[in-house]
Every structure is written in structure tokens, then in C-alpha cells.
Amino acid sequence: MEARIDLDSPPPPAAPARGRRRLGGLGGRRGGPDGTRRVGPGVALGLGMTTMYLSLIVLIPLAAVVWQSTEKGPAFFWQAVTTPESWAALKLTVVASLLVAVVNLVMGTLIAWVLVRDTFRGKALVDMLIDLPFALPTIVAGLVLLALYGPGSPLGVNLAYARSGVVVALLFVTLPFVVRTVQPVLLELDREMESAAASLGAGNATIFRRIVLPNLIPAMAAGTALAFARSISEFGATVLISGNIPFKTQVSAVSIFGQIESDNPIGAAAVSTVLLVIALVVLILLDVLQRWGARRA
């Protein structure tokens, strides 16, 4: 019924967009600016060009990867994925990414909390630094970490050519995800809810567990999923610090790169397809999560 009322009187100007922006939040609008479902010539032209651009750059090449890997049948595909080297790299990639996701879940939420609820000198600077991993080229990130945690480390910590080095590199590049998804939600959170809980006798721990946390969970989950997806696919940051040692520190992206270099496109395509599938599953999960979060909000 409400939707019908909207038809007649235009809605008030949208409230300032805050925080949670759904990735898929643009779908489901009813009608165009003139309320019709007609596709005018201008729209058709734009749509055609968009489809072509997207197809030539993204869709056809990705389809070629999947095609290349499955062309010779599932057995061949499976064989390419489960060569000892590729399989070890895949296992390391998934395990390291899971670990990185969990650390991000905890530390990211904690950092977001400190940035929103705490006040201290230099907070604005710290807040700005959070985005640094997004702006810094990944190869530079790798080099930077290698300088600190590599051979000749001024701290005496040498993680180079070790799995822990891979994890640190992934932690660096994924740092902003959870912080930047949780932070706006926390900012928006109605503090009166907490006051109400306190007036009902709840202690700080109870308030956090029963009031704050349930409101943050969708954002935390979304940020964690993004961090996981990024870790799965990361290449530049890990290539230097991992030393690219098969069966030990080689992650899948690096292993794919090696296979391309050694002219084994089928093997590379097979592992790529697996990474694509994992990433897509995570993205779909993320979309479901966001719908769920939007419904609860």
C-alpha cells in the first residue's frame, strides 16, 4: 500500500546516505524517471555499449579461463587442480585466508570500536592511515613488509619465505575491510539503546554482547567476507615475502603466475577457475548477508 502512495507524491529527498551501502542496493527500483518500463533508444544504446565494454574486458576473458580449464573434460580439470603443487598452494591459500579473515574480524572490529568510541590525540591521523593499504601498491606493501620482517629485520623477526610471512602480508592488504564496514554502523548505532540497557541494570560486557554486537554482526560478517575474498586472490603483496617456495609458501595466485610463465595455460586456468568459484561463492554469500542485514536494520 505504501508503494502506491509513493507513486503520487514523490518521496522526500533521500536522507544523507550513511554507512551501510548495499553493493546490490541499486536493484529493484520501480520504473525509470518517467515511471515507465519502456526502454528508450538512448537507454538501449547505452545498454548496448555497456554490455559490449563489460563483455570485451571482463566477461569473455573470464569465460575463456573457465572454457580453457574444462575443455578437456572434468577428469583433466581435476587432475590439473590436484597436482601436488597446485593442491598444496590451494590448501595454503584457503587456510591462510581463513586465518586472516578471523584475525581481521577481531582486530578490525576492535579498531573500528576504538576509532568511533575512543578519543585520543592523533585519532584523525590513525583513521586516515587505515586506508593506506588500499592506496599503496601491493608490490610496495610486500617490499615494505619484507624490509621490516625479512632478513636483516631491525626487529630481529624474520618471516621471509615462511607461511607466517604470507599471513602478515595478507593482514596488511586486508586491514581496511572490516574496519571500514563496521565503523559506519557503529557510528550510526543509537546510543540510547545502550543507555536504556544500562538503566535496566546491564553491565558493560552484557551491553556489548546483547545490544551492540547483534547490531554489528552483519557488517562484521560482510567485512570479513571481503577480507577473505581479497586474501584468496592476493598476488602482489605475497610474491616477494613468500619467496615462492612450492609446498611451503606458494599461494595459488603465485602458483598460477608460475604456470603462466612456464607456458602451462591449462593448469593455470584450472586453478584460476577454482579461485573464481570460491570468490563467487563468497560474493553471493555476502549479498545474502547484506540482504539479511538490511532486513534487520
Binding site: 524517471p33 576473458p61 608490490i139 610474491v239 595455460p265 570468490a279
Partner: protein, 277 residues
């Protein structure tokens, strides 16, 4: 006064936990972000300015810088046109397949840069039908600038759309409609009303895309063939110098890229859509 007696320890406890949380957060950030950055500055300028200058003004470094700028500018330009167009399509129009298009836009974020490179090589490589045709006509795509632009466009594709679309939705259609009723053609309404309304969001998206384009490594590493003095970008230069034990040049170029990143960060900070806007 039971409230007072119970409130006092609570405040103390929350202060302690606040300081504890703050310490944990700042320590983590210090070791993960700040220390490595300080170290790279220190390593770069360890031996004074001269070696840095020498390394950055070498012919290879300058060429890499030029290639980086060409690729990044072309990629950002293409994605700006595409990004604004798609944002308008998604926000202002309704058409069959809208949800699918919307989902496809985010796809590049989920793809590993190496897979991007492989995907482009498989279609546009010089041994494939399409790539072969292009290279036979003197316009090779892979191991050449066009392929690098394609790779960079791929990885930064969603950034401008996603920066512009929410603002376009928020601005609403009424200002444009008002312009139409005043006689403005759709193009005039776009140029004089829509574009000024989204200009900061667009600038924000362009800066994000620029950062991504300047820093891209994996996808470009695959499609460029990493030909020194030909298709080498700054990020490839860093890696190649490092592998060749020329740490001075690797650090100098890294510092230059990190410096650009900080400038971009400041721009992002300045342009980021604010809640109060």
C-alpha cells in the same frame, strides 16, 4: 546513594578497558602499518638524497614512470566514461537484466589480478585468433600498452560506478526534471545539472581508480610480458630491481609510489562523501 557507589567503579573499569583496547589497536597498527612505512623512508634515504635521485632519474625508471602514467590515465579515462554511464543507467533507468548488470559490475573485485592477466592473455594473446588478427595488423594487445590498459581497466572497473551511483540516487531526478521543464535538452541537463551535482563523488571515484591503476601489479605483470624499457611500469620496475639486487632503486621507486599513495590518501580523505553533506 547506591547509583554513585556503583557508578564510580564502573567508570574506572570502563576507562581501564578503553585504554587497554586503544593500546591493542594502536600497537597492531603500529607494527603492521606505521613501522614498515617509516622503515621504507629510512631505507630509501639511508645514504642521502643522491642515490635516490640517481635511481629515479635513470632512463629505465623514467620510462617506467611514463608507461605507468600513460596506462593509468587511459584506464581512468575509459572507466570514467563507462562509470558515469553505467551509474546513470542503473540509477535512472529500468531495463530487463538490470540486476545481472549490477552484479557483473562488482565481479572484477572478486577476481585475482593474476587471473585477470591470464583471462586477457587467453582472449587477446598473440597466438589466439582475435589477438593474432590485431597483432598482424600492427596493433598487438598482449605484451603491449593496450593489453596493460585493458588489465588496468578490468581491475578498477567498479570503483567509479560505485562512487557515483549512490550520490546520483541521493541527488534524485527532480533537478534534472526541473531543467527539462525549463527547456534544457537531456545533454544540457546532464552537463549543467547532473555533472555538477556528482562532481565530488566522481572525483572521489576517479582518485580511487587512479590509485588502483598506478599500483596494479599482478594483472599488468602477466599481460605486459615485463619487457624492461618497453612495457615496464613502476610497480614492475620495483619488483625487477629488487630481484636483481638493486635495492636502492627498488626502495627509491617504492618510496615514490608510497608518496603518491599518501597524496592520494589525502585526496580521498578530502573527497570522501561525508555524512553531513
Amino acid at each position: 546513594m547506591p547509583e554513585l557507589s556503583s557508578a564510580a567503579p564502573k567508570v574506572a573499569a570502563s576507562t581501564v578497558s578503553k585504554v587497554a583496547l586503544r593500546s591493542v589497536a594502536l600497537t597492531y597498527l603500529f607494527f603492521l602499518l606505521v613501522l614498515p612505512l617509516l622503515l621504507i623512508c629510512w631505507r630509501t634515504f639511508d645514504h642521502g638524497l643522491t642515490p635516490v635521485w640517481t635511481a629515479l632519474s635513470s632512463a629505465s625508471a623514467l620510462h617506467a614512470f611514463k608507461v605507468t602514467v600513460i596506462v593509468a590515465v587511459l584506464a581512468v579515462a575509459l572507466n570514467t566514461v563507462f562509470g558515469v554511464g553505467v551509474a546513470i543507467l542503473l540509477v535512472r533507468h529500468d531495463f530487463p537484466g538490470k540486476r545481472v548488470l549490477n552484479a557483473f559490475i562488482d565481479l572484477p573485485l572478486a577476481v585475482s589480478p593474476v587471473v585477470v592477466g591470464l583471462a586477457l592473455v587467453l582472449v587477446y594473446g598473440n597466438t589466439t585468433a582475435l589477438g593474432g588478427w590485431f597483432s598482424d595488423h600492427g596493433f598487438p594487445i598482449i605484451f603491449s600498452i593496450p593489453g596493460m590498459v585493458l588489465a588496468t581497466v578490468f581491475v578498477s572497473l567498479p570503483l567509479i560506478v560505485r562512487a557515483v551511483a549512490p550520490v546520483l540516487a541521493e541527488v534524485g531526478v527532480e533537478q534534472e526534471q526541473a531543467a527539462w521543464t525549463l527547456g534544457a535538452s537531456p545533454w544540457a541537463a546532464f552537463r549543467r545539472i547532473t555533472l555538477p551535482a556528482i562532481r565530488w563523488a566522481l572525483a572521489y571515484g576517479m582518485v580511487l581508480a587512479l590509485a588502483r591503476s598506478l599500483g596494479e601489479y599482478g594483472a599488468v605483470a602477466v599481460v605486459s610480458g615485463r619487457l624492461v624499457d618497453q612495457t615496464q611500469t613502476l610497480t614492475l620496475f620495483v619488483e625487477e630491481r629488487y630481484q636483481n639486487f638493486d635495492q636502492a632503486a627498488a626502495y627509491a621507486a617504492s618510496f615514490a609510489l608510497a608518496f603518491l599513495a599518501v597524496v592520494i590518501l589525502l585526496l580521498i580523505k578530502f573527497l570522501r562523501p561525508k555524512d553531513s553533506a
